[in-house]
Structures are given as structure tokens and as C-alpha cells.
């Protein structure tokens, strides 16, 4: 199995049949393997096809003046016992370049919305009636960084939606290859697999004339149990409602404004 594992990225160029076999080998490993694969078994370098397909997707999203999508997310959590749990959530994402973004959890027991209007960023918890609003940078790209670094609000799809997504994704990626064709939620996709520092990630991209990402998986290698985050994106639209009220937050009557704790608030500190 180890040998097969090592072969996969080195089968270049792969013909269709060999790609299929390689993908099957990967799948079998995923099912059978209990030990982490040795890092040295991986070939280095990013396959040009993989880079091209990824860049086509990120360039496409960057070129769109606006879009919306539904997302379905699964995050895994590992207990000390080794038992792994999954938590699901679903959201609606609406974006208008260069500086409007809204995400809204939907169809869930709890809900939470994020509003970014180019000036401020608001996180709103309608169930409990709390919100926090802070000044924010003037572009989506900068706001994604600001939210992560200053608020500890992390944007996973932020990996995909910024105009410089390709550079962000590839900055620390040491290898990548085209696994082959796959069908995600009924859509034919190219399946790409990359390795970075402490992370493996995969993306499935519509192989038609609108190369939307359909699925994105982040595997953290250096946490016991290697938990994964998965996001599926569907119902892409180029004509979402982008009226100003979609992005500007007005607190409803009775809502209470609160603060974000400073990032790095570790344990008890005065």
C-alpha cells in the first residue's frame, strides 16, 4: 500500500485509466489506512494541470462582480478518546466586489449572520439578540484577513473567494496533482489534491464553462486523528440580491451590542 501511495503523484502524465486506478488506490488507502502516510512518500511539485485548473477557478470567481451560493459544511472534532465527531451547518453566501459580503447560517437550530458593507463588519446572533460591529478594511480581500487576524473570525471559503485566492492557496503548497474526474452533487468536476505545511487540501471544480468550486476539504495533519473540514457549495448564482440592505446591518429592536474579545485572549488575563 505504501508503494501505491507513493506512486500516485508520480504517474505523470496519467492517462484516464491510470488516473482512475490511482484514484481508486487513494480511496482504498483512505479506507484502509490507520497510520499516517509518510510524508517522504509524496512527490514534490505541483502538476501544471492541477495549477491550471485551480487558477481557472480562482480567476473566474475573481472576475465575477457578484455571486451567491449555498454552502453545506462539516467540521470534525476529535475527542481525547480518539472518537471523532462531525458538526454540520449550512449557510448562504452573498458577495459583491469589491467590498460587500454577507454570510448567513440557515436552516439550523442556531443562526448567525455576518455583514460586511465595505466600512464595518458585524457579527449578529439573532437567537440571543447580540451583535458586534467594528470598523473594517475597504475590500473583501483585506476584510477576510482582518476578520481572521484581528477578530479570530475565520473564513474558510475565504480561501476561495478573495481575488488573490490562487496565491493564497499556493503559497505554502508543496505538491498538487489532478486526481481525475468526479461528480459532486450531480456536477462533473475535476478533483485536485494538494499538500501544504501541516495540511492537505482538496478541491472539486466544475469542469464546464463556469468553473465554480463545488467542494473543498481541508485535512489538518498535525492534530491527532487528522480532523477535516469540508464545505460543499451549490446553487451558485450570478444574480443574487445585492441591494444595500443585504450588507448593511441595522440592529433590530431589543438587540444588544457587545464587543469582540481581543485575539490572543488566552486564559485569564486582567
Amino acid at each position: 500500500m505504501k508503494a501505491l501511495h507513493g506512486m500516485v503523484p508520480t504517474l505523470r502524465p496519467l492517462d484516464a485509466a491510470r488516473r482512475l486506478a490511482a484514484a481508486a488506490a487513494v480511496a482504498a488507502l483512505a479506507l484502509a489506512s490507520t497510520a499516517p502516510a509518510p510524508a517522504h512518500a509524496q512527490a514534490s511539485g505541483v502538476d501544471p494541470d492541477a495549477a491550471r485548473i485551480l487558477k481557472r477557478m480562482t480567476d473566474y470567481l475573481a472576475s465575477l462582480p457578484q455571486f451567491g451560493a449555498d454552502t453545506s459544511n462539516v467540521v470534525e472534532v476529535v475527542l481525547v478518546s480518539g472518537q471523532k465527531l462531525q458538526f454540520d451547518s449550512a449557510s448562504r453566501l452573498t458577495l459583491q466586489r469589491p467590498n460587500k459580503l454577507r454570510t448567513e447560517r440557515v436552516g439550523d437550530v442556531a443562526s448567525q449572520s455576518l455583514f460586511y458593507d465595505g466600512h464595518t463588519l458585524t457579527l449578529f446572533d439573532p437567537n440571543d439578540g447580540f451583535y458586534a460591529t467594528v470598523p473594517a478594511p475597504g475590500t473583501i480581500d483585506a476584510a477576510v484577513d482582518f476578520a481572521r487576524d484581528s477578530l479570530d473570525v475565520v473564513a474558510p471559503a475565504g480561501d476561495l473567494i478573495t481575488t488573490d485566492a490562487y496565491q493564497r492557496l499556493m503559497a505554502d503548497s508543496t505538491s498538487g496533482f489532478l486526481v481525475g474526474k468526479s461528480v459532486v452533487d450531480g456536477v462533473r468536476c475535476d478533483h485536485l489534491a494538494f499538500r501544504g505545511i501541516g495540511v492537505d487540501w482538496q478541491v472539486w471544480i466544475d469542469d464546464g464553462d463556469k468553473p465554480f468550486p463545488r467542494k473543498f476539504v481541508v485535512t489538518t495533519l498535525d492534530v491527532a486523528g487528522m480532523p477535516q473540514f469540508e464545505i460543499r457549495m451549490s446553487n451558485w448564482t450570478l444574480t443574487p440580491d445585492v441591494s444595500p440592505k443585504q450588507f448593511e446591518f441595522s440592529p433590530p429592536p431589543g438587540a444588544t451590542r457587545i464587543d469582540f474579545l481581543p485575539v490572543g485572549n488566552a486564559g485569564a488575563q486582567p
Binding site: 487576524d149 477578530l151 501541516g198 481541508v218 489538518t220 444588544t256 464587543d259 486564559g267
Partner: protein, 165 residues
């Protein structure tokens, strides 16, 4: 048992999502995890490629409520944390430093529990029992024993932080 909650709260300090999502819910879901089940990973599961690389800056939370805990439960929590630490030792230095921070938080919390009041700025995921709500200077506080808490977002999680009205 309350001491164990700090581990769950730590988990609840989880990541949050923004653009596409995620994590706002993870914390909520995690609060349903039985308190005896500690969570590995510091900080839990990154939800972005950039997040993995930048984890070392992520916070580690949480101390416990003042009503915390018999010595026995504290020891149980410590044992669980040691188990978690052992698992994490095979991981990166970043994780180890996070674990150290967690242990430090635990130590502070235990010291605070002994003295009967928590240091200002202590963050908990859930309030202890028997709190009463009050307003001071237009801000809502919860008075719980010797401590006052105000509500805040830590990332996208709602938490309570000790404060002075």
C-alpha cells in the same frame, strides 16, 4: 465536573466561520458534548488552508467558573489534559505551545477557584448557576457569586468574560 467544562469551553472557542461558514455552529454543537469528553487539538480543526498555517496565533481559552470543583474533578480534568497533551506531543511545536497555554489557563483557573473569585478577563463558555442580571453604564452584566460577567464574541462564539461593572 465543572472543571471539565473548561475543556469543552476551550473547544467552544473554536473557529468560526465567516465566509462560508462554519463554525459558528461548531461551538454550539460542541457545548452539547458531554463534559467528560475532552477535545484534542489546539486549536481544533482549521477550516481554511491559511488557517492551518496561522494557527499559532489562535487563542486558547478558558478558565472555569468560580464554583468550580472538587479536588477530585480537578484532578480528573488534569488527567484528561495530560492525555491530550501526550497525544499532542507527536504533533507540532505550535500545538505544544498551545497546550502549554491551556495548562497555564487551567492553573490560573484553579488558583482562582481556590481564592473564590476569578481574575478579570477570564473567559467562560457558560455561566455558572445562580447568576442574576444587572445593568451598569448601559452594559448588561451577570453577577455570579463574587464575579461579574459581560457577554462578548470570542471569534464568532458567544462567551462570558469577567469584568468590573
Amino acid at each position: 465536573m465543572i472543571t471539565l467544562r473548561n475543556v469543552a469551553a476551550y473547544a467552544a472557542s473554536f473557529v468560526i466561520l465567516f465566509c462560508a461558514e462554519v463554525a459558528p455552529d461548531a461551538p454550539l454543537g460542541l457545548r452539547l458534548v458531554p463534559e467528560a469528553k475532552a477535545v484534542v487539538g489546539a486549536p481544533l480543526t482549521p477550516v481554511s488552508v491559511a488557517g492551518v498555517a496561522r494557527r499559532t496565533t489562535r487563542r486558547v481559552v478558558v478558565a472555569e467558573s468560580a464554583e468550580a470543583s472538587s479536588e477530585a474533578s480537578a484532578q480528573a480534568a488534569a488527567a484528561q489534559q495530560q492525555a491530550a497533551t501526550a497525544q499532542q506531543q507527536s504533533a507540532t511545536a505550535a500545538q505544544q505551545s498551545a497546550t502549554a497555554a491551556q495548562q497555564s489557563a487551567t492553573a490560573q483557573q484553579q488558583a482562582a477557584a481556590a481564592s473564590g473569585a476569578l481574575p478579570l478577563g477570564t473567559v467562560v463558555a457558560t455561566l455558572p448557576a445562580g447568576c442574576s442580571k444587572m445593568t451598569s453604564g448601559g452594559v448588561e452584566y451577570y453577577k455570579c457569586g463574587p464575579d461579574y460577567y459581560r457577554t462578548a464574541f470570542q471569534g464568532s462564539n458567544l462567551v462570558y468574560v469577567t469584568a468590573t461593572p
